[in-house]
C-alpha cells in the first residue's frame, strides 16, 4: 500500500497514541445512563479511541453532572454537534488531522481514500455503524434526484468529476478520484462537516425505495409536507440537532425533554471515545442549553447562570465578567480569537464605479489607507492594548507566520500616506481639506458594516479620525449582512468593514480558500468569486493581476500533492496579501472570554475559532468534567 507523505504521519501517530494503550484497558460502568442498556464493553467499539488525559496535558476526570450553558437562539442547538466535534477525521489541539470516528484513513497518491471504521461501533440507538451507512448516503441520498436534485457538492468534484465509491467490506469504504483531492479530508474535519454517512437503518423507513408507503404517507401528513423527499430532508439533518430520534455519533444527543427555550442533551451511551482509565467519554452526563437573548447572556453569565460560556460573550464584556468572578465562583479564561483580523477594512476591488475601481485597485491608495491608521491607538482604546496591531494575515501561532506579513505597511505613518496620495494625483482639495477624486467628487468613503458588532463600528470611527488628517473622509453606514453581500455582488459597495480571514491559524494542508477570489461572498471581490464558483456563468473575470495570480496559486494548491509544495503556495499568497494590502486589517489576537464554572480540563488559554477550532471542539469538550460533584 502506497501512502502519501502527509498521511504516513497520521497513520504513525495513531499507532503510537492508541494502539499501545488498548491492551491494559478495562472498561468501567457508566453512571447515569438509561436502565437496561448493555454493559459498557458491549456498547463500545472493539477498538475505541482511547485518550490518556495526562499525555495530552489534562487530568483524568469523573463522569457525571449537568452542564448549563446559554445560547442566543433555538437554532443554536446545533452547537452541540460543533462542540462535541466527533468527526470522521478531526484536528487535534495542535491542528493536526487525526482519524476520530474512523479507525484509519489510507490515502494513495492524494486521490484514493480508504476509510476504515471501528469494528463494533454503534449509533446512539445501539444499531451498528457500518459501511452500509456510507453507501446509503452516497447511493440513496446524494445521487437521488428527488432528495438532491442539485448534484454533488464541490469537495467531491475534482475537475468536475465525481469519485468512484466502493464498499470494500463491512467496515471499509473507498473513494477514488483521477486526480488528487486535498479538499476531501479537511472538509470532513470542519465544524460543519458534510455528513457522508447517514443512519441507514433509521432513515430507510422514510425513503421511497425502502419504506412502507403507508408509513411515509402518514408521516408526511404529520409533518405537513408534500412528499417523502421533504420529509426525509427534514428528518435526516445530522447537523441541526432537531430530530431527537435521529441516531447520532456525537458525544451528546438531543433528548425529548425541554422545549424551544431549554434544550437538553444527554450522553451518547455508544460513544467511541474512552479515557485511559476505561471511563467512557464524555465525562459530563447532560448538557442543557437555555435560550436567552444575546444581549442578556453576559449578564446571566455574570450572575453565575452558565457553567461554560463563550458564545455571545465578547471582549467588551470582560470587565463585567471579571467583576462577578468572586461572588459567583466562576473564572474568566481569556482565549485568543483565531481570526486573521478582528476588524478589517475591505476595499471592493471589483466596484462598479470606474473612478473608485481604479483607486481601490491602486496599491498606493491601499497602502496610504493602511499607513493612515493608528493601530496602536485603536488597540488601546478598544482593547486596553491587549490585542496585536497587525495586518489581516495568519497569526503568530500558525506555522506559516512571518513577521513581515503582519507588519508590512501597518505602521502609522501619515506623512508617507499623504505622500502616496499625492503621488496618485489626489492633490486637489476641497476647502475643508478633503481631497478630491479625479472627477471632482470629494474623497468620501462610505464604509458599510453589518451593524452587528459595536467594536467594528467604533473602530471605523477611530480610523475615520486619522484618515481625516490625510484628507479622506470616512462615513460608517450600518447595514445588514445580506444587503452588503448583495451590494458587493452588484458592485455598488465601495468598502466594507468586516472581520478578517476566518482562519488565522492555517497549516499548509488547509485550503487557502479565503485568500483567493474563490467565493461570491468575499466582499473584496465578490463578482470574481462568483465567476470562479459558477465556472464563468455569472460574475466577472478578475481584471486585476494579483487576483489572477492568487487564483492560479489556489488552483495549484488544489492540484498539489506534497506538504512542501503547499507551504510554498501558501507563503506566496500571504506575501501577495502583505504586499498588496488587499484587506486592511487593524488588530488581531483579541481575547475571547470563556467563563468556566466548576469545570476541570478546560484550558486556561487556547484558541477560540470556528474553523478550525469548532469553539470547544478541538479542546475536547468531552473531556471537560465537574471538579466537585455531589
Amino acid at each position: 500500500m502506497k501512502t502519501s507523505g502527509l498521511f504516513k504521519g497520521v497513520a504513525a501517530a495513531i499507532l503510537i497514541s492508541w494502539a499501545g494503550t488498548a491492551g491494559a484497558f478495562t472498561m468501567t460502568p457508566t453512571p447515569g445512563i438509561a436502565e437496561g442498556l448493555p454493559p459498557t464493553s458491549e456498547r463500545a467499539p472493539v477498538d475505541p479511541l482511547v485518550t490518556n488525559m495526562t499525555e495530552i496535558g489534562r487530568t483524568t476526570g469523573k463522569q457525571g453532572g449537568e452542564l448549563r450553558t446559554l445560547v442566543g437562539r433555538t437554532k443554536d442547538a446545533r452547537l452541540i454537534n460543533v462542540w462535541g466535534y466527533a468527526r470522521l477525521v478531526g484536528y487535534t489541539e495542535d491542528l493536526e488531522l487525526r482519524p476520530d470516528i474512523l479507525k484509519d484513513v489510507q490515502v494513495e497518491e492524494g486521490r484514493i481514500f480508504t476509510l476504515t471504521l471501528r469494528r463494533g461501533h454503534k449509533w446512539s440507538d445501539g444499531h451498528p455503524f457500518t459501511s452500509e451507512d456510507f453507501r446509503f448516503w452516497f447511493e440513496d441520498v446524494l445521487t437521488n434526484d428527488a432528495l438532491n436534485p442539485w448534484g454533488m457538492p464541490s469537495f467531491l468534484l475534482v475537475d468536475g468529476q465525481p469519485p468512484r465509491f466502493e464498499v470494500i467490506d463491512e467496515i471499509t469504504v473507498r473513494y477514488t478520484w483521477d486526480k488528487p483531492n486535498p479538499l476531501f479530508l479537511p472538509e470532513l474535519a470542519k465544524s460543519r462537516p458534510p455528513f457522508i454517512y447517514r443512519p441507514a437503518h433509521y432513515l430507510k423507513q422514510f425513503h421511497e425505495n425502502y419504506g412502507d408507503p403507508q408509513v411515509i404517507e402518514d408521516m408526511t401528513a404529520t409533518y405537513k409536507v408534500r412528499s417523502w423527499a421533504p420529509l426525509f430532508n427534514k428528518l435526516d439533518d445530522m447537523y441541526n440537532a432537531r430530530n431527537s430520534e435521529l441516531p447520532s455519533l456525537q458525544p451528546w444527543v438531543l433528548t425529548e425533554e425541554g422545549d424551544d427555550r431549554r434544550i437538553v442533551f444527554t450522553r451518547n451511551p455508544y460513544f467511541h471515545r474512552f479515557d485511559s482509565e476505561g471511563q467512557q467519554l464524555p465525562y459530563i452526563n447532560r448538557v442543557v442549553m437555555t435560550v436567552a437573548d444575546g444581549k442578556l447572556i453576559p449578564a446571566k453569565t455574570q450572575a453565575g447562570e452558565s457553567d461554560l460560556q463563550a458564545r455571545n460573550l465578547s471582549f467588551s464584556d470582560i470587565s463585567v465578567l471579571k467583576r462577578g468572578e468572586a461572588s459567583e465562583g466562576y473564572k474568566t479564561n481569556l482565549w485568543l480569537s483565531t481570526k486573521g483580523s478582528q476588524v478589517a477594512l475591505l476595499p471592493n476591488l471589483a466596484v462598479k464605479d470606474p473612478v473608485w475601481r481604479k483607486l481601490n485597485q491602486d496599491v498606493r491608495f491601499r497602502h496610504a489607507l493602511s499607513l493612515g491608521i493608528d493601530r496602536n491607538m485603536i488597540n488601546k482604546v478598544l482593547y486596553f492594548g491587549l490585542a496585536h496591531p497587525s495586518n489581516d494575515t495568519v497569526l503568530e501561532m500558525s506555522p506559516l507566520y512571518k513577521d513581515d506579513y503582519a507588519k508590512d505597511w501597518a505602521a502609522f505613518d501619515p506623512e508617507k500616506a499623504n505622500a502616496l496620495l499625492d503621488e496618485i494625483g489626489l492633490v486637489e482639495r476641497r476647502n475643508d481639506g478633503t481631497r478630491l477624486l479625479p472627477d471632482g467628487r470629494p474623497l468620501e468613503i462610505i464604509i458599510e458594516s453589518s451593524g452587528e458588532s459595536r467594536a467594528q463600528d467604533d473602530a471605523i470611527e477611530l480610523v475615520a479620525e486619522t484618515w481625516k488628517e490625510l484628507g479622506i473622509r470616512a462615513f460608517l453606514k450600518p447595514s445588514q449582512r445580506d444587503t452588503i453581500r448583495n451590494r458587493a455582488m452588484s458592485g455598488d459597495l465601495v468598502m466594507a468593514v468586516w472581520s478578517g480571514f476566518e482562519n488565522g491559524v492555517p497549516t499548509a494542508d488547509m485550503p487557502p480558500v479565503d485568500y483567493a477570489p474563490t467565493r461570491g461572498d468575499f466582499l473584496s471581490w465578490a463578482p470574481w468569486g462568483d465567476y470562479y464558483e459558477t465556472d464563468g456563468q455569472s460574475g466577472e473575470k478578475p481584471d486585476w493581476a494579483p487576483a489572477n495570480r492568487l487564483m492560479e496559486l489556489y488552483d495549484a494548491w488544489l492540484a498539489s500533492s506534497t506538504k512542501e509544495e503547499r507551504a510554498q503556495i501558501w507563503h506566496e499568497m500571504l506575501q501577495i496579501h502583505a504586499d498588496e494590502t488587499i484587506h486592511i486589517g487593524l488588530v488581531n489576537q483579541v481575547r475571547q472570554p470563556v467563563v468556566v464554572k466548576g469545570l476541570s480540563n478546560v484550558p486556561e488559554t487556547g484558541i477560540y475559532g470556528w474553523d478550525p477550532g469548532s469553539h470547544f471542539g478541538i479542546h475536547r469538550m468531552d473531556a471537560f468534567f465537574f471538579t466537585e460533584q455531589d
Binding site: 432537531r242 437555555t290 442578556l296 446571566k300 450572575a303 453581500r485
Partner: protein
C-alpha cells in the same frame, strides 16, 4: 342582544380583511424576503445546492406571485400551489426561520403572553384605581400632585432602561435569575408549586415595567372622568339624601366613571403588546413579543404577519367583549331606545 352581537361580529369581517391586508403589506415593505436573503447567504457560502432548495420553497409558498395573489393565498381566498390552503382553512402559515408551522412557534408563547398581559392589566387597574379616586376627590392636594408626578415619571422612563435596572436590582437583592419568566431549571418541566412561584417572582419586574407606562394615563383619565361626574347633579341628589361621601362616591360617580374603562379594555391590548415587546426582549421573556421582533427583523413574513394579525384580532375581540360588557353593565345601552312606559 344576540342580534347585536351577531351584527357586531359581521362588521368585524371587513375590518379584519383590511387589517390583514394592511399587515401583510407592511410586513412586505422591507426590500427582499426571507428566502432571497437566505439565498444570498447560501450562495455566499458556496452551497448552491441549498439555493435550489430555497427556490423550491419560494414556489411552494407562492412567493413568486404578485402581491394581491400572495395575500389572497395567505388568507385562503385564492388557490395556492396546493389549492385553498390559508388562514381560512386553518393553515396559519409557515415560519422559515424556525422551519416549523407558525402555530408551533407561536403556540407555546401564548399562555405566558396572556399571563403577563393579564398581570399587567391587573397591576394597572390595582394601582391606578385607588390613586385615581384619591386624586379626583382630593384635587390639587399634595397627594394628587405627588401621585401624578410619580405616574408621569413611570411614563417618562424608557421601558427598556427601567427593565434593565430593575432586573439587575432583582438579581442583586433577591437573587432572581436574570431575565426569563422562570428560573432556568423549570423551563420545560411540568408545573409544580415551585415552578409557579418562580414564574410569579419573575413576573414582578416586567409587570411593573410595562404597567408603569400605562398607569399614569389611566390615573389621569380616571381622575378626569371622576371629576366630571362629581360635578353632575345626580351626585348632589345623592348627597341630599344624606349619604356618606365614600358610599356615595362608590355607588354613583365611580360607577359612571368606570364605563369608559370597560369600553377601553380592547384598546388596552395593543398598547400592552407594544409595551411588552421591548420589555420582553430586554428581560428575555418567552412571550410573543420577541418572536415577533425576530420575525420582523429576519423577514419571516408569515410568522410576523400572523402575530400581528393575531394581536389585532385579539384587540377586536377585546373591543367586542368590552362593548358587550358595557351593554350588560349600562342600562342605557342595554335598554336604549326601549319603550317608554
Amino acid at each position: 342582544m344576540l342580534y347585536y352581537t351577531v351584527r357586531r361580529l359581521l362588521t368585524m369581517i371587513p375590518t379584519l380583511l383590511v387589517i390583514s391586508l394592511l399587515t401583510f403589506f407592511i410586513i412586505e415593505l422591507p426590500e427582499g424576503d426571507y428566502i432571497s436573503n437566505q439565498i444570498a447567504v447560501l450562495k455566499s457560502s458556496g452551497e448552491s445546492a441549498s439555493v435550489a432548495k430555497l427556490e423550491f420553497l419560494r414556489q411552494e409558498f407562492a412567493l413568486d406571485r404578485p402581491f394581491f395573489e400572495r395575500f389572497a393565498i395567505w388568507v385562503g381566498l385564492w388557490p395556492g400551489p396546493h389549492g385553498f390552503d390559508g388562514l381560512l382553512q386553518g393553515n396559519w402559515g409557515w415560519s422559515f426561520e424556525y422551519d416549523k408551522p407558525v402555530y408551533e412557534v407561536v403556540g407555546p408563547t401564548l399562555p405566558l403572553t396572556i399571563v403577563l398581559n393579564a398581570a399587567t392589566i391587573l397591576f394597572v387597574y390595582l394601582v391606578s384605581f385607588p390613586i385615581g379616586i384619591y386624586s379626583a376627590t382630593r384635587q390639587y392636594s399634595w397627594g394628587d400632585y405627588g401621585f401624578t408626578f410619580l405616574g408621569y415619571v413611570g411614563l417618562a422612563t424608557p421601558n427598556f432602561l427601567l427593565g434593565l435596572v430593575l432586573m439587575y436590582l432583582a438579581n442583586a437583592w433577591f437573587d432572581l435569575s436574570i431575565g426569563g419568566l422562570m428560573d432556568p431549571e423549570y423551563i420545560g418541566e411540568p408545573w409544580s408549586v415551585d415552578k409557579a412561584l418562580s414564574v410569579l417572582s419573575h413576573l414582578i419586574v416586567p409587570t411593573i415595567v410595562i404597567g408603569t407606562s400605562g398607569t399614569a394615563a389611566m390615573i389621569r383619565r380616571l381622575r378626569a372622568n371622576l371629576l366630571d361626574e362629581l360635578h353632575k347633579q345626580y351626585v348632589t341628589t345623592a348627597r341630599a339624601k344624606g349619604m356618606k361621601e365614600r358610599a356615595l362616591l362608590v355607588k354613583y360617580p365611580l360607577r359612571m366613571a368606570l364605563n369608559p374603562f370597560i369600553a377601553d379594555i380592547g384598546n388596552l391590548i395593543p398598547s400592552l403588546v407594544s409595551g411588552s415587546v421591548i420589555v420582553s426582549v430586554v428581560l428575555n421573556l418567552p412571550t410573543v413579543g420577541p418572536v415577533l421582533l425576530n420575525a420582523l427583523q429576519s423577514q419571516d413574513q408569515f410568522l410576523a404577519a400572523f402575530i400581528l394579525l393575531f394581536v389585532s384580532v385579539l384587540t377586536l375581540v377585546g373591543m367586542l367583549v368590552s362593548d358587550l360588557l358595557l351593554a350588560v353593565l349600562d342600562p342605557r345601552i342595554r335598554l336604549g331606545g326601549g319603550s317608554r312606559s
